[in-house]
Amino acid sequence: MTRATLAGIGVSLAAAPLGCFVVWRRMAYFGESTAHAAMLGIALSLTFELSVLAGAVLVSLIMASSVTLLEGRSLFMDTLLGVAGHSSIAAGLVIVSFISGVRIDLMAYLIGDILAVSKLDLLMIWIGVGVIFSLIIWRWSPLLLVTLSEDLASANGFNPKKENFIITISLAIVVAVGIKVVGVLLIIALLIIPAASARFITLTPESMGFIASIIGVLSSILGLYAAYFFDTPTGPSIVCVASLFFFLFLMLNIILKNKI
């Protein structure tokens, strides 16, 4: 249980500030497709008996970068993402079905299985968290400027492509380390729901990132314990708690605004 809690806290800590950028840049669908691509990575890793984590990072990264490269050259980014993301998850599921021998618990990859987190998993999760956290904090200002306007960033001497790649690589890592915790289907929820909830009560980008992290951590702790007491699946329980936070803040926002 301690390991599960630490894993949950780690992933939500990394997901929340990154999630703010996903929300600001309207990349929710991009993030979702990246996460779906991880399923193909998982399937390939299982087939060739490689590390699932590495496979997931690699395939997510390849998909996200190739879609980014194609962006601008085509006007149908949305469609392209839909094709790439869903093809990957479908292909992943098909490949997994061919693997003989050990029966693979698909649900564990799709919605996570946090109680099965090993010590090594935990270490990998926190390494991933460390990498994402350092990247985001180190590049915070340029990332924010690129989010506001790529031209302003260029004029200031930053390279928008480089900054965008930091977001892409962070997304791929967060998806991979989130597999054990909430699975490829729900990781996007851990990215955007805390960020969206925090938006209601914050006035600066920094405070939004900070509050989102707190909401994310609270959600994973409360969700984990709720799952324990009600005997429900952990990943979805964590996401449900995060959604409750969102609705709470949404309602508060509506009530407060109507009063004034």
Partner: protein, 241 residues
């Protein structure tokens, strides 16, 4: 020399948007770029700030040149909470002059406002402030007066002219407010995919290439320009010393 562009060509796909552009900009110069819609003016700016690649030619920029860029507009996503103050301080090298700039551009009362709540005119002033915070050596203004009314436009360019004189900052601007802009410009460059003509405001405005592009109504604008030189008065009609 701040910027030296020679034989620049920019392509979007297979379409040449700009070709054979030559342009040199020195410290303290005010140069205006005019040209019809879709003539590649903004593309030229984007090539200068390095936001887009170019297919031929050279852009030589003074090393570590501090560029203040004012885009046509800036739309901030509703999900991004950011105050004017935070925006002005974001990724700027040195903001010791910020207070002076805020007072100069009359931004004090909106300093703690959310960017999303600003009007078009307020937003343009904030963008100008942001471009000026870094003590730029060159200002790039891309139709920076969008959303301003007539007195607003005049006041805006007056401020630019003052800043340029005070700090010896070069100004390269794209503008449709020809009669207002030309008064202050050292040079005017007329762009329509290539450089049609360039020179002093008088020379350009009377050149046949320019008149073909902008028609005869420019005579009126030019007359206004002449008129403005004869006697200056402020918006209320009082003459200025």
């Amino acid at each position: 020399m701040l910027i030296e562009i020679s034989k620049l060509e920019v392509k979007y796909g297979s379409k040449k948007v700009l070709q054979n552009i030559n342009l040199t900009l020195n410290a303290g110069e005010i140069v205006t770029i005019v040209g019809p819609n879709g003539s590649g003016k903004t593309t030229l700016f984007k090539a200068i700030i390095g936001a887009i690649p170019f297919s031929k030619g050279k852009i030589k920029i003074k090393p570590n040149l501090r560029i203040g860029y004012v885009p046509q507009q800036l739309k901030v996503d509703q999900t991004l909470p950011i105050t004017v103050e935070r925006f002005l301080k974001l990724a700027t090298r040195d903001n010791s002059d910020l207070k002076k700039m805020v007072a100069f551009l009359g931004l004090k009362n909106i300093y703690r406002e959310q960017i999303n709540n600003l009007s078009g005119g307020q937003m343009q002033r904030v963008l100008l402030a942001r471009a000026l915070v870094d003590a730029p050596e060159i200002l790039l203004l891309d139709e920076a007066t969008r959303g301003l009314d007539q007195p607003g436009i005049a006041a805006f360019y007056q401020k630019i002219e003052n800043i340029s004189k005070e700090t010896n900052c070069a100004v390269l601007m794209i503008s449709h407010d020809l009669h207002v802009v030309m008064r202050a410009s050292d040079r005017v460059i007329c762009v329509n995919g290539h450089v049609c003509c360039e020179g002093t405001p008088e020379n350009v405005a009377t050149s046949p290439e320019y008149q073909t592009l902008f028609g005869s109504n420019i005579d009126g604008a030019f007359a206004l320009y002449k008129h403005k030189h004869d006697h200056n008065h402020d918006v209320q009609g009082k003459s200025r010393i």
